[in-house]
Amino acid sequence: MKQMKVDIKIGERVAEVELLERNENSVKISIDNQTYEIDALNVEPNIYSILHNNKSVDVEVQAGNKAKHYAVNIGMDNIETQVIDAEAKYQMSRGNGSGGEDDNAISSPMPGKVVKILVAEGDEVKAGAVVIIISAMKMESEYKVKQDRKIIEVCVSEGDNIDSNQPLVIVE
C-alpha cells in the first residue's frame, strides 16, 4: 500500500481524499475531513454501485482525455474530475501541469476532418483570427486564436482525418 491520500478536483473544488479502510466492497474514506462509510462494488467495468446510508447510486468513471482526468456519470449528471497525486503536483510545479500544454497547440475536442487551413508556418495572426476549420457529422467548426500569435507549425493537411485533442496547429 503506497499512497492513500490524493487531491481530487471537481469543478472549482479541490477535495482532500484519503482511504481509511477497505475490505472488499466496504470502504471507509475521508473527503475533506468528512468520513464516509460506503459499500462500493465494482459491478461492471468502470461502474461502481455505491450504497451510502442505504441510498443507492451507480457511478460510472471513464478515463478522460488526459491522464488522471475522468468523466463521471451519476444519474443525469456528467461531471469531470481530476486526480492530483504527488506526481501530478510535481509536474504542475514544473509548469507541465494540466491546462498548460494546450495553450500553444490548437486542437479539436472531437474527431473529424480538416476542411481548411487558413495559416502557414511563420504567419503572424491577430487575436480572433480563424486558423483551421474542422468538420464532423455534417457540421463545421472554426478554431481561432485568442490573442495575437505566431504560427510555429501546422501539423495536419487539408482532408486529413484527425483525432480529438490531437495538436493541429502549434502557435508561439
Binding site: 500500500m1 462500493a40 461492471e44 461502481y48 468513471v61 449528471d77 497525486d85 464532423a136 455534417k138 457540421m139
Partner: protein
C-alpha cells in the same frame, strides 16, 4: 411478390426496415461504405455489399453502386429509408428502368412535390390551404400597399429569384411596407439582377404539424393522424409527439381531409407526410410534402398500431392498403426523443467516438430504435443521431413521465449525448402545458441550458468513485501495484477479482 429488399441506407433506419423484412419473411440486403463495415445494419442484414468509401457522396449517394449491389444480390425492391437517395427522382426512375421496385413514389411525384413552387401550385389546384399571398410583382408603392393589405399583416416580402434569405423582408406594420418593399427590391436587384418581389403571409412562431399519409396503386388514400414537431433546434426536430396537444377533433378532421386531398391529387403510392404550419388561432397552411418515411414515424405506429414499413412494402408490391380510414384510431399518446452524439453545453458540437457502456431502458411503453453497441465507434461521416427513444402512455402525462424515466434509465457513455437536454425538455413547464410552438427552444433556452445543480452528496460520491477507480487502476492501496502499459493484467480478470466477493458459489 417482393422477396428480397435492398436497404439503401445505414444506421437505425436501415435496421428498422430490416425488422419488418424479417417479420414478413423477406430477405434483407445491406449496403455499406468503408466506415460502416462494423455497423450494426451490416451485421443484422442477411446479405451485405460494399458500395464505396466513407464519404456518402462516394457511397450511399452513388446510384450506380447501389443499383449494382441490387442486381448482384438479386433484390427485387429497394427501400431508401430517409435522407440519402430517398427523395431523389432520378434514383426512383432508375430503379423503375432497371426493373427494381422502388419503395416510394414515382419520379414524377417526387419532382412535383420536391419543388416548393410546383408543389404549391398543385396543392392550390387540389383545394389545399397554402400560405396566403400573391405572385403579383410589386411595381409601385401603391401596388405594395394594396397587395399587402389584401394579404394582411404581418407579411414577408420575397424576391422571386431569391433564395437563402436574400431579398427577404419581414413587414409587421403599415409604416414598414414601403421601406420594406424598396429594401427587398434593391437587395434582389443587387443579388440576382432582378427586382421582382412578391408578398406572402408571415406565420409567426407557427406550430409545425404534419400528417402521415398512405396511398396505394388502386386509388386509395388514408391519413394516420398528425405528429406535432414544433420542438426544433436550427430547423432540426428534437422531440415529436402525437396527438398534437393543440389538436381538436374538428381541426383534425379538416387537416386530415386536406392531407388525403393532397395525397390523391398526385396519385401518391407509398407512405408520405404532409407538413402544415399552424398558427395560434389554429389556421393551417400547407408547407411541403415529404415523399418518404420520416424519422418520427414510430410515434404514429405506437398510437395507431400500424407497422408503416410493412404497409410501405405492401403498397409498393401492388397490394391495397389493408385498412380503411374509419378503421384507424389514435389510442393513447406517444412521444419520440432523438438521441444525438453531441454536446448540448458546447453549442451542440457533434461528438463521434467510441461507445463504452450502454444500458437501455426496459419495461412497459418503451420502444427503442437504435443502431450502436458497446465497443462501436460512431463514425464522423454521417448524421449524429444515435437512436430514438419512443414512449407510449395511456395519456399525455403518463407518456411524459415515462419519457423522463426512459431518459433517466438510458445510459450511454464514452461520448457526449443530448440525453440530459432532452430530459430538460420533458421537465419544462412549457412542454408540460403543451401549447408550445416552433419558438419553444429559443423561449425556454435559459431553463433548458441551465447547469444542473449537483447535490453535495452526489459530488462526494463522484469524488469517492473517482478515487476508487484511480486506486483500482493503478493498484495503489492494494498489494500489487506494478503497471506496464503493454503488459497490464487482463482488465476483465482484474475486474473479476475485485468482484470476487460476489461469486457466491
Amino acid at each position: 411478390m417482393i422477396k428480397k429488399i435492398l436497404v439503401a441506407n445505414r444506421g437505425e433506419i436501415a435496421i428498422r426496415v430490416m425488422h419488418s423484412c424479417r417479420e414478413m419473411g423477406i430477405t434483407s440486403v445491406a449496403v455499406y461504405s468503408e466506415a460502416d463495415r462494423n455497423s450494426k445494419h451490416v451485421r443484422m442484414a442477411d446479405e451485405a455489399y460494399y458500395i464505396g468509401p466513407s464519404a456518402s457522396a462516394e457511397s450511399y449517394l452513388v446510384i450506380d453502386n447501389i443499383i449494382e449491389a441490387a442486381k448482384k444480390s438479386g433484390a427485387d425492391a429497394i427501400h431508401p429509408g430517409y435522407g440519402f437517395l430517398s427523395e431523389n427522382a432520378t434514383f426512383s426512375d432508375r430503379c423503375k428502368n432497371e426493373g427494381i421496385t422502388f419503395i416510394g413514389p414515382t419520379s414524377e411525384v417526387i419532382s412535383i412535390m420536391g419543388d416548393k413552387i410546383s408543389a404549391r401550385k398543385k396543392m392550390v389546384k387540389a383545394g389545399v390551404s397554402v400560405v396566403p399571398g400573391t405572385k403579383e410583382n410589386l411595381v409601385s408603392d401603391e401596388d405594395a400597399l394594396r397587395v399587402v393589405k389584401e394579404v394582411g399583416l404581418p407579411v414577408m416580402i420575397k424576391a422571386s429569384a431569391g433564395g437563402g434569405g436574400k431579398g427577404m423582408r419581414l413587414v409587421r406594420t403599415e409604416e414598414e411596407i414601403i421601406p420594406g418593399v424598396r429594401a427587398a427590391k434593391s437587395e434582389a436587384l443587387a443579388g440576382f439582377g432582378d427586382d421582382t418581389v412578391y408578398v406572402e403571409k408571415f406565420v409567426e412562431n407557427p406550430h409545425h404539424i404534419e400528417f402521415q399519409i398512405l396511398g396505394d396503386s388502386h386509388g386509395n388514400a388514408v391519413h394516420l393522424f398528425e405528429r406535432e414537431c414544433s420542438v426544433q433546434r436550427r430547423h432540426q426536430k428534437v422531440v415529436e409527439e402525437t396527438p398534437s396537444p393543440i389538436m381538436t377533433p374538428e381541426l383534425q378532421a379538416k387537416m386530415g381531409e386536406q392531407a388525403v386531398m393532397a395525397t390523391k391529387a398526385v396519385n401518391y403510392v407509398g407512405a408520405g407526410t404532409v407538413e402544415f404550419l399552424v398558427d395560434d388561432d389554429l389556421n393551417y397552411y400547407f408547407l411541403e410534402m415529404n415523399t418518404r418515411l420520416q424519422v418520427e414515424h414510430p410515434i404514429t405506429e405506437q398510437v395507431t398500431g400500424i407497422d408503416l414499413v410493412r404497409a410501405q412494402i405492401e403498397v409498393a408490391d401492388g397490394k391495397e392498403i389493408p385498412f380503411k380510414q374509419e378503421d384507424l384510431h389514435q389510442q393513447g399518446h406517444a412521444i419520440e426523443a432523438r438521441v444525438y452524439a453531441e454536446d448540448p453545453y458546447s453549442n451542440f458540437m457533434p461528438s463521434p467516438g467510441l461507445i463504452q457502456n450502454i444500458s437501455e431502458p426496459l419495461g412497459p411503453g418503451i420502444r427503442h430504435d437504435g443502431y450502436v453497441y458497446s465497443g462501436y465507434t460512431i463514425p464522423i461521416h454521417y448524421d449524429p443521431m444515435i437512436s430514438k427513444l419512443i414512449v407510449w402512455g395511456a395519456n399525455r402525462d403518463e407518456a411524459i413521465d415515462r419519457m423522463k424515466r426512459a431518459l433517466y434509465s438510458y445510459k450511454l457513455s464514452g461520448i457526449k449525448t443530448n440525453i440530459s437536454f432532452l430530459s430538460r425538455i420533458m421537465e419544462s413547464e412549457d412542454f408540460a402545458k403543451g401549447g408550445y410552438n416552433t419558438n419553444f427552444i429559443a423561449k425556454n433556452e435559459d431553463f433548458l441550458m441551465a447547469e444542473r445543480e449537483i447535490d453535495s452528496e452526489v459530488e462526494d460520491m463522484a469524488i469517492a468513485a473517482t478515487f476508487l477507480a484511480f486506486i483500482d487502476k493503478t493498484g495503489i492501496g492494494t498489494n500489487s501495484n506494478k503497471e506496464d502499459a503493454n503488459c497490464t493484467e487482463n482488465e476483465w480478470k482484474a475486474f473479476g477479482k475485485r468482484r470476487g466477493v460476489m461469486r457466491l458459489y
